[in-house]
Symmetry: D2
Subunit: 132 residues, 4 copies
């Protein structure tokens, strides 16, 4: 399963060198996930089961900086098992096509008692489809 998300670099996300701060890449990656879940009606399933996502790992390689108002395109590849959702985000500068960052990692879902939950079948099945 693949998805694409676009986001624009905001002024307050820059560090004092005028570059996108290293932590903000994780903010972007998180938002790419929320939007993907929402766009595909998976967020309502997560909410319906009373689950919340728990990030287990993030592995980030920074390759090129982003600057004020740069257009970022995040291409994401998702691989879903019954317990773990693996993700790989690749950040591109949408104008220059320069590959600027990769973030690979994994997340699980927990319930309100903070117990690990199986990934709901609706999500698991959706993730097996190859829509792209």
């Amino acid at each position: 399963m693949k998805s694409t998300y676009h986001i624009t670099v905001r002024g307050y996300e820059l560090d004092s060198f005028g570059h996108l701060n290293n932590a903000v890449y994780l903010n972007y990656a998180e938002q790419a996930k929320w939007e993907f879940l929402n766009d595909n009606k998976l967020l309502e399933i997560v909410n319906q089961y009373g689950l919340f996502p728990v990030i287990l790992e993030n592995n980030i390689r920074y390759m090129h900086e982003f600057k004020l108002l740069d257009k970022v395109r995040i291409e994401t590849e998702w691989i879903c098992t019954h317990k773990i959702l693996h993700f790989k985000h690749i950040f591109f500068n949408d104008k220059t096509e320069v590959k600027s960052c990769t973030i690979s990692g994994k997340l699980m879902f927990a319930d309100s008692n903070r117990m690990v939950s199986d990934i709901p079948d609706e999500i698991y099945n959706f993730m097996q489809e190859d829509l792209n």
Copy 2:
């Protein structure tokens, strides 16, 4: 070389599940670096040479959540070569001693022309000392 930094979880750093947001760990790790450089008079050397730090990699493992006003202790191990500063942060809950997160990664220094700089000798030499 080792260093220790203490930080308290702030309310606005929590996500809507009441847990410290996954990106904020990188904010804490960054601040641990600034304070370490400053405490050891290395920040003024960085500034004197007109350099700025560029994070190359962050590899994060999340193990236990933090909550509002939790006291976090970050223990950092530093290994310095002539080009790259390697860091490994371990986050502990300072009250329960639970190991909650690790971040390993590396950074370099760049000059105002965005060229990779050697790590200044003053910093390199300091990092070879074993003060702990």
Copy 3:
């Protein structure tokens, strides 16, 4: 002079009650300003003169909360004198049309010596036009 800016509420901008955090409204207001300056070729003038904006006042009234993925529309009114740029942002929920927040304030421009600068004529003149 009036302008409009659209922005979507991100997951990490929520507080632990699931509402947009009170400080993030200022982030949105700031970004609305950068985009306005950029859209109208004023940002390049600011940069050309080596100026940077300095916020002097922000007066915020919060009326209705925003939640995850809400679409926000910010309508801004600008009044420019030779020294001060006055702004009034009104935040609407773009779906429900509920007026959710107002931020009125003022900013000036400073030069690299941190001295107050006159607002460049190009910006002042632009602001006198009534494009709406």
Copy 4:
């Protein structure tokens, strides 16, 4: 009722001009509130009643910038009615004693149904004491 809170400026809170970003002052003000409530055992009362704070107004005057690792001292005056908690934060540079910012505003408490709540008697009574 008066209170004092200390906080240190972090690197990632600076804007690209090296100054504390205008929105971060509200983060600091929020954290000063959480710490005040917690230090005086009021946070547990808020939680016990299932309430959460809702900021109604923030009026900010920026007077002097803060820079990396500056020590900030926030002196707060609190005035409590049965519905509204009024606050006035004054930000000082703790080293130079320069008054750098004021934030005055008000908040209320809401319950889990998002209904306005009276301020709990325990908090109201505490706020009438003059401990300083």
